[in-house]
C-alpha cells in the first residue's frame, strides 16, 4: 500500500472536507467527523460528474456520518461511499490516516 501525504492535520477541521489532487490525476475528498475520525472518498459526484464532494455539508442521517453533494444534495456515507438515496450507487473510498502532522491517503 502506497500512502501519499495530502495535507497538514490542521487543514481538515472537524465536520468539514477538503479536496486533494493525487499524482495520477484522481481527486480525493478528505473529511473529518466531530470525533476526529478521517474519511477519504472520491471527490467526483457520480450524479453530476463534477469534482465537488469535498465542498458538501458533513453531518449524519440516522446516526450514520454522511456528506451531502453540493450539486443536487444526494447523501453519501463517509465510511462506505454508498449513496443513501440510491443504494446501488457508491463512490470509491480510500484508506486514510494521520501520520505525525500529516494526513496520508492510500489510493
Amino acid at each position: 500500500m502506497t500512502w501519499f501525504a495530502v495535507c497538514p492535520v490542521a487543514a481538515v477541521p472537524p465536520e468539514q472536507g477538503v479536496a486533494a489532487l493525487l499524482p495520477d490525476g484522481r481527486q480525493v475528498a478528505v473529511f473529518r467527523t466531530h470525533d476526529g475520525t478521517l474519511h477519504a472518498l472520491s471527490n467526483v459526484d457520480p450524479f453530476s460528474a463534477a469534482a465537488v464532494l469535498a465542498r458538501g455539508i458533513v453531518g449524519d442521517l440516522g446516526g450514520v456520518a454522511v456528506v451531502a453533494s453540493p450539486m443536487h444534495k444526494q447523501h453519501f456515507e463517509l465510511a462506505t461511499g454508498r449513496c443513501v438515496e440510491h443504494p446501488d450507487v457508491a463512490v470509491a473510498v480510500y484508506p486514510v490516516r494521520e501520520h505525525g502532522d500529516r494526513i496520508m491517503v492510500a489510493p
Partner: protein
C-alpha cells in the same frame, strides 16, 4: 344537429351552469350562447371586496371564463337579453341579436336594493355588486381633498360590512347604519351582534344600529345624511348595501310565475312553468326560498346541466352556512341559527374578555345539532357545521378549551360536506389524499375543487390530511423537533451563538444539510458576525461557503451588486475588464445586473479583489438574502413617472442588502401605476402614486406566481421604510425554512389582516423589537467579500486542492459558444438522477 341552449346572465352561477354542462356533454349535444350584461367575463363576486387590494380585475377572474378554446360556447359580453318570446322560443338581446333556443337558462342574479330614501340618487351614492360599482366608488374618492374621508354604508348585513371593509381599505372612515337592532341580522343573534358591533367599532368603523337613514342631502360639496334618531353625518359618499332583489323582470314580462317576494318560481329540477325555461342562482325561487349565497346557486347549476343531458338530479334545500372574516373579525353561522325549530335548546358561551361568542342550537333531547353562531372565534365552525349527531355534551364542543372538545374530523361520516361552496364531501377528499396522492392543501384544491371559493374549509382540509397520516410535521429535520420559527426564538432568547451548542442543548445527532444552513441563516439574521466565521463555514451550503453560485461543472458565478440596476459607464468597464481578463461568460440577469460565469474556486478572491477595489460589493446572488430591488426609470426620465423610483430602489437595496432570511427576498419599485418594474411579482413591491407610495407584499414569480397584496397605500417614505422593516423582520422570525414571503403570507393565521395588525397596529407588541433588530442590521452591515479579502484564514479556503493551492481543477474545461466560454460537459455522469 346539436340543440341550442341560451343562457341569460354570466355571473357566478350562469358561468358554472355552462361549465358544468360542457364538462358533461361528451357528445356535443348542446351548442351554447351566453348573453352577459356586464362587459367582462364571469368573475368571483364573492371575492369582490378583495378587488380593492390591487384594483386588478384579473385577480378575480374565474378559470376558463372566456371559453376561448371552446367552439361550442359563444359569449356575448355587454349584450343583455331584453325580451323572451316563449311561443317562438326566441330571445332578443340589446344589440338586436335574436337567438332561437331549445332550452333557456335564466341566471340574471339580483340587483342591489336601494331603499327609497330621499336623495338616494344624488351623485356620490353608490351600490356594491359589480367591479364597475367599485371602480365608480374609487373614482369618486380620488379627487376629494385631503384628510381622512368619511363614507356612509346603508345596511349592516354581510354586504354592508364587506362594503365597510372595502372603504376602510381605501383609506376612508366608514359609518354603518342598520335598521335592525343588530349587525348581520340574518345570520347572527342578539348576543353575537352585540359582540360583533363592539369588535367592529374597535376598527374605526362607526356602527349605528336600530335606526334608519331618513334623508341624504347635498351640503357644501359633500353629503349630509340624517338618521331617524337625530344624528347627522357629514360624508363624502354613500354606499347602499341594504339587501338584494332577484332580477325577475325579464321572466315576468314573458309571463313566467314569480314568488311572493320576487324570484322566478322553479321546481326541484330548477324548471319554470315553461319546460323549456330554467332559472338558477339568485334570480330563482325554489320552494318559496330565494338563496342569496353562491353554494345553492352552484348546486342548481349542476342540477340543470344534468337535466339538460337527460339526468334526473334534484335540488334540495341548501346549506346556508356563512363564514366571513370581516375586518379581521370571524363571523359564522349555520343551520337553524335562531333556534326556530320546535323545542330547540340553545347553548351559549360568551367570553367578553377573549372577545368570542359561541352558540349552538340543539334538539330538545340534546342529541342533534341544529345550528350555531360564532363571533370573534370561529375555530369550531367548519367541523360543527358538517356534524349532525352530537358526539357528547354540546358545552364541551364550544367550551373554553374549545377546539371542538376533542371531536375531530374523524367523527364525521364520509358523506359529510366539508366544502359547502363546491359540495365536496369528506369521502371525496380522503379518496383524493389516499389514491390521488394529494399530500398538501394546494393539491387538494386542484384535485377536488374544495377550498377554492370562500376558503373557510381549508383548516378542515389540513385536518383531513393529518387524519390520513400525511405528515404535517413542523420539525425542521431529524435533528431538531422544533420548527424554524421556534429555533429562531430559542437562538434569540438564549443567546446561543454556535450550532454545536444549539444541537447539544435542543437537538439530537450531528446535523445535516437542512438544519445546518438553516441555523447559519438564523445566526446571520440576528447579526452575530460574518457568515464564514469559525465553525460557521462548515454549516453553509457551497454557495454561501464560497460566496458565489455553484454551476453544473463545479465552477462558480459572480454577481456584483448593482443597486436599482443603475450603473456608471466606468463601473461597466470594470466588469467588462474583469470578465475579459478571467475569461468569464457574461450575461445580463433577469434582476437588472450582470452575472459572470465560469470562475474557479481559486479565482474568486482575485476577481473580487478587482471588483471591490472598483467599489463593487457582494450581490448576494448566492444567499437566502436580499437579491435585487428592481426599478423602472421613474419620474427622472419617464414622461409618466410620478416619483423617483430609481432613487427609492437604491435606498431600499442599500438598506436591506445582506439581510439573511428564510428564503431569498426580491423587491421592486415602479414610478407609476404602469408598473414597469413588476413590483407586484416581488416579495415586497412599491408603486408610486401622486400622493405617496403603495406597498405590496407577498408577491412571487417562479414556480408558483402570486401577485403581491396591498399592505398600505399612499404613505410617505418614512412610514414606508418602517412598514417594510417590520414586515421583513416579522417574516424572518416566523417563516419556515425556504418559505418565500408568498407562501408564508398564505399560511399565516389571519392572513393579511393579521399582518396589518402586527406591523401597523402593533397587536403583538413586537414593533419596537422588530424596529430595533432592523436598525441593528442596517448599522452593522459590511460587505462580505471585502471582509473575506481582509482575512487570510478565510481566503485560504478558496483553493481547488489543499495540496496544490494555485492549481485549477483539471477536469474543468471550456469550449466557445457565440464567442464566449461555456462548460464542456463532464463526460456522462455515472448515474442519471436529480
Amino acid at each position: 344537429m346539436p340543440r341550442k341552449l341560451v343562457v341569460a346572465g354570466n355571473g357566478m352561477v350562469g358561468h358554472r351552469t355552462v361549465q358544468a354542462l360542457r364538462d358533461r356533454d361528451q357528445h356535443g349535444e348542446w351548442q351554447v350562447t351566453v348573453f352577459a350584461e356586464e362587459a367582462r367575463t364571469a368573475y368571483d363576486r364573492v371575492a369582490l371586496t378583495s378587488y380593492v387590494d390591487g384594483w386588478d380585475p384579473a385577480a378575480l377572474a374565474l378559470p376558463g371564463a372566456d371559453f376561448a378554446d371552446d367552439d361550442a360556447v359563444s359569449l356575448h359580453l355587454g349584450d343583455p337579453v331584453v325580451a323572451i318570446d316563449r311561443a317562438a322560443r326566441m330571445v332578443t338581446a340589446a344589440s338586436g341579436r335574436r337567438v332561437r333556443y331549445d332550452a333557456l337558462v335564466l341566471a340574471t342574479g339580483s340587483a342591489p336594493f336601494v331603499p327609497p330614501v330621499p336623495g338616494h340618487d344624488l351623485p356620490g351614492c353608490f351600490v356594491y355588486r359589480t367591479i364597475d360599482d367599485l371602480d365608480a366608488i374609487r373614482a369618486a374618492t380620488a379627487g376629494t381633498g385631503s384628510g381622512r374621508r368619511a363614507a356612509l354604508v346603508v345596511g349592516g348585513g354581510l354586504l354592508g360590512l364587506e362594503a365597510a371593509k372595502a372603504l376602510r381599505d381605501m383609506g376612508m372612515s366608514p359609518h354603518v347604519v342598520e335598521l335592525a337592532p343588530r349587525l348581520m341580522p340574518l345570520q347572527v343573534d342578539d348576543g353575537g351582534g352585540a359582540l360583533l358591533a363592539r369588535l367592529i367599532a374597535e376598527l374605526d368603523v362607526t356602527v349605528h344600529t336600530g335606526v334608519s337613514t331618513q334623508v341624504i342631502e347635498e351640503d357644501r360639496g359633500r353629503l349630509l345624511a340624517k338618521l331617524a334618531n337625530g344624528v347627522e353625518l357629514d360624508v363624502d359618499l354613500v354606499v347602499f348595501a341594504a339587501g338584494i332583489r332577484p332580477r325577475d323582470q325579464l321572466a315576468t314580462a314573458a309571463g313566467l310565475r314569480t314568488g311572493p317576494r320576487g324570484g322566478i318560481v322553479v321546481d326541484e329540477a330548477c324548471r319554470t312553468d315553461d319546460p323549456h325555461v330554467y332559472a338558477v342562482g339568485e334570480c330563482a325561487c325554489v320552494d318559496g326560498v330565494v338563496y342569496g349565497l353562491v353554494a345553492p346557486g352552484y348546486a342548481m347549476a349542476e342540477v340543470v346541466a344534468d337535466r339538460l343531458l337527460g339526468g334526473d338530479s334534484v335540488f334540495t334545500a341548501a346549506d346556508t352556512s356563512t363564514k366571513l372574516k370581516l375586518l379581521g373579525v370571524d363571523v359564522a353561522s349555520f343551520g337553524d341559527a335562531h333556534a326556530r325549530t320546535e323545542g330547540a335548546l340553545e347553548v351559549v358561551v360568551n367570553d367578553a374578555v377573549a372577545g368570542s361568542y359561541k352558540k349552538l342550537v340543539v334538539s330538545d333531547d340534546a342529541k342533534t345539532l341544529l345550528g350555531g353562531v360564532f363571533v370573534g372565534d370561529a375555530t369550531e365552525y367548519a367541523l360543527l357545521r358538517s356534524l349532525v349527531d352530537l358526539p357528547g355534551d354540546p358545552l364541551t364542543l364550544i367550551g373554553p378549551r374549545g377546539g371542538g372538545g376533542g371531536v375531530g374530523v374523524a367523527a364525521l361520516p364520509d358523506d359529510a360536506q366539508i366544502c359547502s361552496c363546491n359540495a365536496v364531501t369528506k369521502g371525496t377528499i380522503t379518496a383524493a389524499i389516499v389514491t390521488a396522492e394529494c399530500d398538501d392543501v394546494p393539491k387538494l384544491k386542484g384535485c377536488t375543487g374544495a377550498g377554492t371559493v370562500c376558503g373557510s374549509c381549508v383548516p378542515m382540509l389540513r385536518q383531513l390530511l393529518g387524519a390520513c397520516g400525511v405528515a404535517q410535521s413542523t420539525a425542521l429535520c431529524e435533528h431538531f423537533p422544533q420548527s424554524r420559527a421556534s429555533l429562531f426564538e430559542i437562538v434569540r432568547v438564549t443567546g446561543i451563538r454556535t450550532f454545536s451548542e444549539l444541537i447539544t442543548a435542543h437537538g439530537t445527532g450531528r446535523g445535516c444539510d437542512i438544519c445546518k444552513p438553516a441555523v447559519a441563516s438564523i445566526l446571520a439574521s440576528l447579526g452575530t458576525g460574518h457568515v464564514l466565521d469559525g465553525e460557521r463555514a462548515g454549516l453553509q451550503d457551497t454557495n454561501d461557503r464560497f460566496l458565489a453560485n455553484i454551476q453544473r461543472n463545479g465552477t462558480y458565478s459572480v454577481v456584483p451588486r448593482i443597486p436599482g440596476g443603475e450603473i456608471t459607464p466606468a463601473k461597466l468597464m470594470v466588469i467588462a475588464e474583469v470578465a475579459r481578463d478571467f475569461d468569464l461568460y457574461t450575461k445580463i440577469t433577469g434582476g437588472q445586473r450582470i452575472d459572470l460565469f465560469g470562475a474557479r474556486l481559486e479565482q474568486l478572491p482575485q476577481i473580487w479583489a478587482r471588483l471591490v477595489a472598483a467599489g463593487f460589493e457582494s450581490g448576494h446572488a448566492y444567499g437566502k438574502a436580499l437579491r435585487t430591488v428592481k426599478s423602472c426609470v421613474g419620474s427622472t426620465w419617464c414622461r409618466y413617472g410620478v416619483q423617483d423610483s430609481v432613487g427609492l430602489a437604491i435606498e431600499l437595496e442599500l438598506r436591506y442588502r445582506g439581510l439573511r432570511s428564510p428564503h431569498k427576498l426580491k423587491a421592486a419599485v415602479s414610478g407609476c401605476a404602469r408598473e414597469c418594474a413588476e413590483a407586484r411579482g416581488k416579495d415586497f413591491g412599491v408603486i408610486a402614486t401622486e400622493r405617496g407610495w403603495n406597498l405590496y407584499v407577498g408577491g412571487n414569480g417562479g414556480t408558483t406566481p402570486r401577485h403581491a397584496d396591498l399592505l398600505v397605500s399612499e404613505v410617505d417614505k418614512e412610514t414606508l421604510l418602517r412598514t417594510i422593516d417590520r414586515f421583513l423582520m416579522f417574516y424572518i422570525r416566523t417563516a419556515d425554512r425556504l418559505q418565500r414571503t408568498s407562501a408564508w403570507l398564505e399560511s399565516l393565521e389571519g392572513g393579511l389582516d393579521h399582518l396589518r395588525a402586527v406591523v401597523l397596529d402593533d397587536s403583538l407588541g413586537l414593533c419596537a423589537d422588530l424596529d430595533r433588530q432592523m436598525a441593528a442590521h442596517v448599522d452593522a452591515y459590511t460587505d462580505e467579500w471585502a471582509d473575506v479579502l481582509a482575512d487570510p484564514d478565510k481566503l485560504a479556503r478558496f483553493t481547488s486542492f489543499v495540496n496544490a493551492p494555485g492549481l485549477p481543477d483539471p477536469t474543468v474545461e471550456f469550449r466557445a459558444e457565440r464567442g464566449q466560454p461555456v462548460p464542456v460537459l463532464l463526460g456522462t455522469p455515472a448515474v442519471m438522477a436529480r
